[in-house]
């Protein structure tokens, strides 16, 4: 063992890891792409549409509320993607649980809390079933959750029609449930608080707890994680349940706020949730990403989807912008990851 041999090896190992400059260190973070995109789109709309209401309290509340509602769903979706799995059933869980809450509180005129409790139990059950099927059968979660999505949607349509004759039911937001899930302060919706709490919890769990470490490992390579002793199946099932519960929380917030339950509510979250995660730097193949990145992705979506209105541009172009951002994000993430791996 001689020193000369080691230094030869060092030359081979890419850029010296010893003291990377701050900018480079930040760029190497998984959320770098997402944070940059959020800052760029914010600056873009603030400059071009700032005087047109985009920066007014109401304007800010609009895109923050949007980002919060999406973020609550997207953060657990991102965590699940980090662990290497997809969940396409989130959208249908939002719709189905909104109908449950509306049926209980509006149609049957019982306490909204009962509806919310049933909704959360239902969401947990869907997540559990998704997780168990994926873990047991080892089938791709893409196909398993596509199936449960259709079953949840179709099943709830049937139940709703059978019980109430309609698939769009008024919900009654009353009492403490209305305060907790529909409160607003100067147009800032209470969902922002849930969002922030969720960001803190998710970041803590993913960065600071063994569970977070297991989730990254599971997504990086389930085989390696299993050999190292990570309870891979448990990690996946827990994250499937969390994803469903995130969907139920957004559903509860929307149903209580808009006082309307609708089976098709939230169908777009399947796409926007995954888009927010990917824009935020979560790798489609798993193993890389961060809740903070997903948050930036949701913020980017909120800013773009409402910003175009202030520009007076054709607002149907929103999806075009989001699509373009997604494509950019995928390309940028790829580059950033190679940089992080020292193979730029």
């Amino acid at each position: 063992m001689t020193d000369t041999e080691i230094s030869a090896e060092e030359a081979d190992a890419g850029p010296g890891p010893s003291q990377p400059r701050l900018a480079r260190r930040l760029l190497m973070r998984p959320e770098a792409g997402g944070v940059i995109s959020a800052i760029v789109v914010f600056a873009f709309f603030a400059i071009l549409a700032g005087s047109n209401g985009f920066l007014s309290p109401l304007g800010v509340a609009g895109w923050l509320d949007t980002a919060a509602e999406l973020g609550i769903i997207a953060i657990p979706i991102g965590m699940l993607m980090i662990a290497g799995e997809f969940d396409l059933s989130v959208g249908s869980v939002v719709g189905a649980t909104s109908i449950i809450i509306a049926m209980v509180s509006g149609y049957y005129e019982m306490s909204p809390w009962l509806g919310i409790a049933i909704a959360f139990a239902f969401g947990a059950a869907v997540g559990l079933i998704n997780g168990i099927i994926v873990v047991w059968t080892k089938l791709p979660s893409f196909i398993v959750t596509l199936a449960t999505m259709m079953m949840v949607l179709g099943g709830m349509l049937g139940v709703s029609i059978a019980l109430t004759g309609s698939t769009s039911i008024s919900a009654a937001a009353t009492g403490s449930a209305a305060v907790l899930f529909a409160a607003e302060w100067r147009e800032l919706h209470v969902s922002i608080i849930y969002w922030i709490v969720l960001i803190v919890i998710a970041t803590y769990v993913m960065q600071r707890t063994p569970f977070g470490n297991w989730a990254y490992a599971t997504g990086g390579s389930a085989q390696t994680a299993r050999l190292a002793g990570v309870p891979v199946a448990r990690v996946k099932i827990i994250l499937f349940v969390c994803t469903s519960l995130g969907a139920v929380l957004t559903s509860t917030l929307q149903t209580m706020t808009f006082q309307n339950g609708n089976v098709t509510l939230g169908a777009q979250y399947v796409f926007t949730g995954i888009a927010a995660s990917v824009i935020g730097g979560v790798l489609l193949t798993g193993g890389y990403g961060s809740p903070l990145g997903t948050v930036s992705g949701a913020l980017t979506y909120g800013i773009v989807s409402l910003g175009v209105f202030y520009l007076g541009w054709n607002a149907d172009l929103t999806e075009f912008f989001i699509g373009a951002l997604l494509l950019l994000a995928v390309l940028a993430n790829h580059r950033l990851r190679l940089m992080a791996m020292g193979r730029e």
Binding site: G59, A267, Q268
Partner: protein
């Protein structure tokens, strides 16, 4: 996703041409008008449905035409039907944040939109309710309503079908659970009952809403098992075309009367050759045009029509088909989406 709650339940995807029409007409803004006028142009925010829903391109066209004529600075803010509750709230937030001189809004989900109308009025922005929200517009402080009362379309349809001899009507709901569509079929049911007939509803599965062939087979299967049906009313021109195909396949052409909401090129042709009895035209172009015009008059002069202005339903049948078909060809997005 396949599931989409159509605001007004016209075809959401079949009418792909709407997107083309939109790019052509978009941005035909108010620059000329601004230059011509010393005063700052009146700024109107118009919150209504998306142009991917074929009902709305004529409405958008009408609003733009009025804005061009009057030199109004118009910002059309479309609600996303796939996320209708949240989007209804966000679009109103955006409209209010822009502090325009007036807001014209389609209050499709009035439980969501009404609180924002109140907020806008409190902020000193006059609001004109357009297309939907007829039940609550006065209560929330809007200065007027222009549009069509939902169930009226069903009533008019019942009268027309009854005149043609209908006793047993099938009302096809192509977006299950949509309250607006259910209200129309309800209106039809009440009116046809008064006229001595009956009606029943057929709700098509959500997943089939964009598959014309499947819709046709669904209706055909229903006709097979319900031989007493003598007429069909649909709420979407493409569904009407699907229904006429089903009737033809069952060799019942001429025995079953078909009427529908919405105008389309194919539907007009089918009225001409008798496959479809009549089309109910909600005249969305007028909704858009009058919405902007009335808001303009109110902001500029403080003048407004009193009470509700009804823009529909009007009927297209053999008696006026030539005129409407000519306009349809000559002026895109006026009587209907292309």
């Amino acid at each position: 996703m396949t599931a989409s709650l159509s605001l007004k339940a016209r075809c959401v995807r079949w009418c792909g041409t709407a997107a083309v029409a939109l790019t052509l007409s978009a941005g035909a803004g108010s620059i000329a008008a601004q230059a011509a006028d010393d005063e700052a142009p009146i700024r109107i925010a118009f919150v209504s449905g998306p142009l991917y829903d074929s009902f709305f391109p004529p409405l958008y066209q009408g609003a733009n035409d009025a804005a061009d004529l009057l030199g109004v600075d118009l910002n059309y803010i479309p609600i996303d039907e796939h996320d209708i509750e949240a989007s209804s709230a966000r679009t109103m937030q955006v409209a209010i944040a822009q502090a325009p001189d007036a807001i014209v809004v389609g209050s499709f989900i009035s439980s969501v939109v009404d609180p924002y109308i109140v907020k806008a009025v409190e902020a000193g922005i006059p609001v004109y309710v357009n297309q939907s929200g007829q039940a609550t517009w006065e209560k929330v402080g809007a200065f007027g309503f222009v549009g069509q009362i939902g169930p009226d379309a069903g009533v008019v349809a019942a009268q027309h079908l009854s005149k043609a001899g209908a006793k047993n009507v099938l009302c096809v709901i192509n977006v299950p659970g949509n309250p607006y569509l259910q209200a129309i079929c309800q209106g039809l049911n009440e009116e046809i009952t008064k006229l001595g007939g009956t009606s029943q509803n057929l709700e098509l599965p959500t997943a089939d809403s964009t598959d014309q062939a499947k819709v046709s087979r669904n209706i055909g299967a229903f006709l097979q098992s319900h031989k007493d049906i003598d007429s069909i009313f649909t709420l979407n021109a493409a569904v009407a075309t699907a229904a006429s195909a089903a009737v033809e396949a069952a060799q019942l052409t001429g025995k079953i009367h078909i009427g529908t909401l919405e105008i389309s090129k194919v539907a007009l042709e089918q009225v001409r050759n008798g496959q479809i009895e009549f089309l109910i035209n909600e005249q969305p172009y007028l909704d858009g045009f009058y919405g902007v015009l009335f808001a303009y008059h109110y902001v500029k002069f403080g003048l407004a029509p009193v009470g509700m202005v009804h823009t529909g339903p009007s009927v297209v049948d053999k008696s006026n088909i030539e005129k409407i078909a000519t306009v349809f060809e000559k002026y895109p997005n006026v009587v209907g989406s292309q």
